[in-house]
């Protein structure tokens, strides 16, 4: 069983919870302290994907990028060569949701063959009924290269593994084809 490695980027505005999502996924931990990421932090996690024939192991190399602010945009060269990305927004800050498309465009522009998933993070801060509406609202305008919109919570761990697992499956599938 040969292993494959794929690069995944996490993009989004500052303080939407990119690092927290990665930490939850890789180490299954969460901290309330906000630490701004400088530049980039690379983490790795191996996951297994069940295919029709066997179980394929995939190494996800997660590039947690510095969130962009109005003063500083994301360094495009960090995005190069990524197979997929998770675009993250903060459900409690609507402007971060508005910016999702801009991040998607930037990412797809650099990686035309890649896929993306959208994480609407900090779901634990939003009431359940409002959550569904927000997701529905956003789902309608997403393109087919976006694998899905997930309401996540790095704090509770809700749907965090799911979003990474979905990407992993997709990457294994594209690798096979």
């Amino acid at each position: 069983m040969s292993s494959i490695t794929k690069k995944i980027c996490l993009l989004g505005d500052f303080n939407v919870g990119k690092t927290s999502l990665v930490r939850r996924f890789v180490e299954d931990k969460f901290s309330d302290r906000y630490l701004s990421t400088v530049g980039v932090k690379v983490s790795r996690k191996s996951t297994d994907v069940r295919t029709e024939l066997d179980i394929q192991s995939i190494d996800l190399l997660v590039w947690d990028l510095e969130g962009n602010t109005k003063f500083k945009s994301i360094t495009p060269s960090y995005l190069k060569g990524a197979s997929a990305s998770i675009i993250v927004a903060d459900l409690s800050r609507t402007d971060t949701i508005k910016n999702l498309n801009q991040h998607l465009q930037l990412f797809f522009q650099i990686n035309p063959k890649s896929k993306a998933a959208i994480a609407l993070n900090k779901a634990d801060l939003i009431p359940e009924e409002k959550l569904a509406k927000l997701v529905e609202n956003y789902q309608s305008q997403s393109s087919k290269r976006v694998l899905g919109v997930y309401t996540t919570s790095a704090k509770t761990g809700d749907r965090v593994n799911e979003i990474f697992q979905r990407l992993a499956e997709e990457l294994v599938a594209t690798n096979k084809s």
């Binding site: 494959i4 490695t5 794929k6 690069k7 190399l61 590039w63 060269s77 960090y78």
Partner: protein, 603 residues
């Protein structure tokens, strides 16, 4: 199957511009074309879409050509929007076709662009060319440096220079050299994604997390490229004793984790191997998608060559060579040095021998003669005052030269040396003293302005020697000898009356004569001898003898004779015992003179 609809395909975008009659024409044309096919023996059947396409295909090029001639703009407009698409489509169908078609024209296109828009081209190429040139310049400079260093040959000098240039202590360089370097791991990394294409980790070391490392290195590279020096490349990362040289190619880069200081040759080797990998496997690298199973195995083989080139091997091969070079170098210096030393010792020996021989010849010992031995000759330089002395030098020199198979080069000059007058005076004094030691020699010398006067008495033999010796003293132009071979005979006797000590006038004449003789022989002293007739008592005769002696003496002194030259022996009564009885009595009473030369007072 192709789904052919004539109305769709044939109707161009500007079809509304066509007249009905024109359509009629096309229709007729198609009909006649089909008719032609039938006449060629094909069964009459309704035309299939393929037949139709085939029929039209024949006239299409001509049709397009005629349309281009009559209405070029319309054709251009019709095709323009789809050109990019068709090229892309063509690339998908056959990757090589478009590059093959466009390739030959690229040069001309770039040239044309440079002619029309030079600045734009410069701007476009600058990031690539600038860094390429700077990279190569650095290499060239380093190469030149290494050549300069190697011409100075000695490792020590090289190290000194390097220490000077790098501004580090020599000790640090020595340390680096002595610890060498060790490859720990090699990673071939995808330039964009940072995914590791191939890795080699040396056994026995703690395994490095290649994926993380590749990712972070790539991030650092990207950061450096974007934020610090756009367009240039990160060549190396230093971390404590670790160095990570990065060698970048088109789609990938090679990171080699090395402990210690890798030499320039190793960096060149990295570059060479990456070059080979890129040349042979560029497609596999370009299409790398994180699946390690798709990476060609030869890449690994090539990378392994870098591990083989570790320091132990290099040191083994280089150090004996270096040692031999050093030995050879020292030999080059030491052997001629030793030979030269031996030659010098031999020549010194001959020179010393010559000096001793020349010094041993008494007539030459006072002159400074300088024998020198060169390759095959004995050269004697110096000055002597006469040809005879030069001949003597020739004689001695030839003997020595023959003994050592050398040729004699007698460069001794015969000159009238300007002699130091004080030296001449000294020499005269020396010889005077020397001769005065000989028995019966009493001479005095006076030297004034090259003129030497030698006066005195000497035996005949001594006189000859004296004449010769003084004539040869340098600085003496003329010698006047006033030498007497014997002491003067003084026959005079001063006779007295009986019982009297008074000097008679005759006596005074005698005394005058004696004084003249004394003046003639200044070195001669006189002994005054008293003689008595023996008449009367001894005491009386003694008193008389004393009185007579004193009177003669006083008379001589009165005539200018130094009293020190007159020695009286008047206490002795001579002649009393062996008197001649036949003689007149008066003749027995007298004072006689015995000349003598006193010994030199200095002795």
């Amino acid at each position: 199957m192709m789904n052919f609809k004539p109305s769709d395909s044939l109707k161009p975008s500007n079809s509304k511009n066509l007249e009905v009659s024109e359509w009629k024409q096309i229709d007729n044309l198609i009909d006649s074309l089909i008719e032609q096919e039938r006449q060629n023996g094909v069964e009459p059947q309704p035309p299939t879409p393929e037949e139709l396409a085939k029929a039209i295909a024949k006239i299409l090029p001509a049709a397009i050509e005629s349309e281009i001639q009559s209405n070029p703009e319309a054709i251009a407009k019709a095709i323009a929007p789809e050109i990019a698409l068709s090229i892309r489509e063509q690339i998908l169908l056959d990757e090589t076709a478009i590059p093959q078609t466009l390739g030959p024209e690229m040069g001309k296109a770039i040239k044309a662009q440079i002619e029309s828009e030079k600045d734009a081209m410069v701007d476009a190429l600058y990031p690539v060319i600038g860094s390429t040139i700077s990279k190569y310049m650095v290499e060239v400079v380093q190469d030149i440096n290494s050549k300069i260093e190697s011409t100075l040959s000695s490792e020590g000098i090289r190290r000194k220079l390097r220490a000077k240039m790098q501004g580090v202590s020599e000790a640090e360089l020595i340390f680096k050299e002595s610890i060498g370097y060790r490859v720990r791991a090699i990673f071939l990394i995808d330039k964009d994604s940072g995914l590791v294409i191939q890795e080699i980790q040396v056994a026995g070391e703690e395994r490095l997390d290649s994926d993380m490392l590749g990712g972070m290195l790539t991030a650092i590279r990207s950061f450096a490229n974007d934020c610090i020096a756009a367009g240039s490349e990160l060549d190396s990362i230093d971390y404590g004793n670790w160095q990570i040289p990065l060698e970048v190619a088109g789609y990938c880069y090679l990171a080699v984790i090395v402990a210690g200081e890798p030499p320039k040759e190793f960096i060149s080797k990295i570059r060479q191997i990456l070059g080979e990998i890129v040349l042979e496997h560029d497609e596999a690298i370009q299409n790398f998608d994180g699946d390690s199973s798709k990476v060609p195995f030869e890449i690994r083989n090539k990378l392994e060559r870098l591990i083989e080139t570790d320091d132990r091997q290099e040191r083994k091969s280089s150090s004996p060579l270096l040692l031999w070079l050093l030995i050879f170098g020292f030999g080059l210096i030491l052997i001629p040095w030793g030979m030269e030393r031996h030659r010098l010792q031999t020549t010194r020996k001959i020179e010393r021998e010559a000096v001793l021989e020349l010094d041993a010849a008494p007539e030459l010992s006072v002159y400074r003669l300088d024998p020198q031995v060169t390759a095959d000759r004995l050269i004697i330089t110096g000055r002597v005052p006469s040809q005879s002395k030069r001949d003597r030098v020739q004689q001695i020199g030839r003997a020595i030269a023959q003994q050592h198979n050398l040729e004699l080069d007698n460069r001794v000059l015969t000159v009238n040396l300007p002699v130091d007058p004080s030296w001449t005076a000294g020499e005269i004094r020396r010889l005077t003293g020397l001769f005065n030691q000989q028995p019966e020699v009493k001479i005095e010398t006076a030297y004034r302005q090259g003129m030497l006067t030698v006066e005195g008495s000497a035996t005949e033999e001594s006189a000859r020697q004296i004449t010769q010796a003084f004539s040869q003293i340098p600085g003496v132009a003329r010698v006047v000898f006033k030498l007497n071979s014997k002491l003067p005979q003084i026959e005079q006797r001063i006779s007295f009356d009986s019982g009297s000590g008074e000097l008679s006038p005759e006596n005074l004449i005698e005394i005058q004569t004696v004084s003249e003789i004394l003046r003639e022989y200044p070195q001669v002293h006189l002994k005054l001898m008293a003689h008595s007739d023996g008449v009367g008592s001894v005491a009386v005769n003694q008193r008389l003898a004393k009185e007579r002696c004193n009177n003669v003496r006083a008379a001589l002194v009165a005539r200018g004779i130094d009293s020190s030259r007159l020695m009286d022996s008047c206490n002795l009564l001579s002649g009393v015992q062996n008197q001649d009885k036949n003689r007149a009595v008066w003749s027995e009473r007298y004072i006689s003179f015995v000349p003598f030369v006193p010994l030199n007072p200095s002795q």
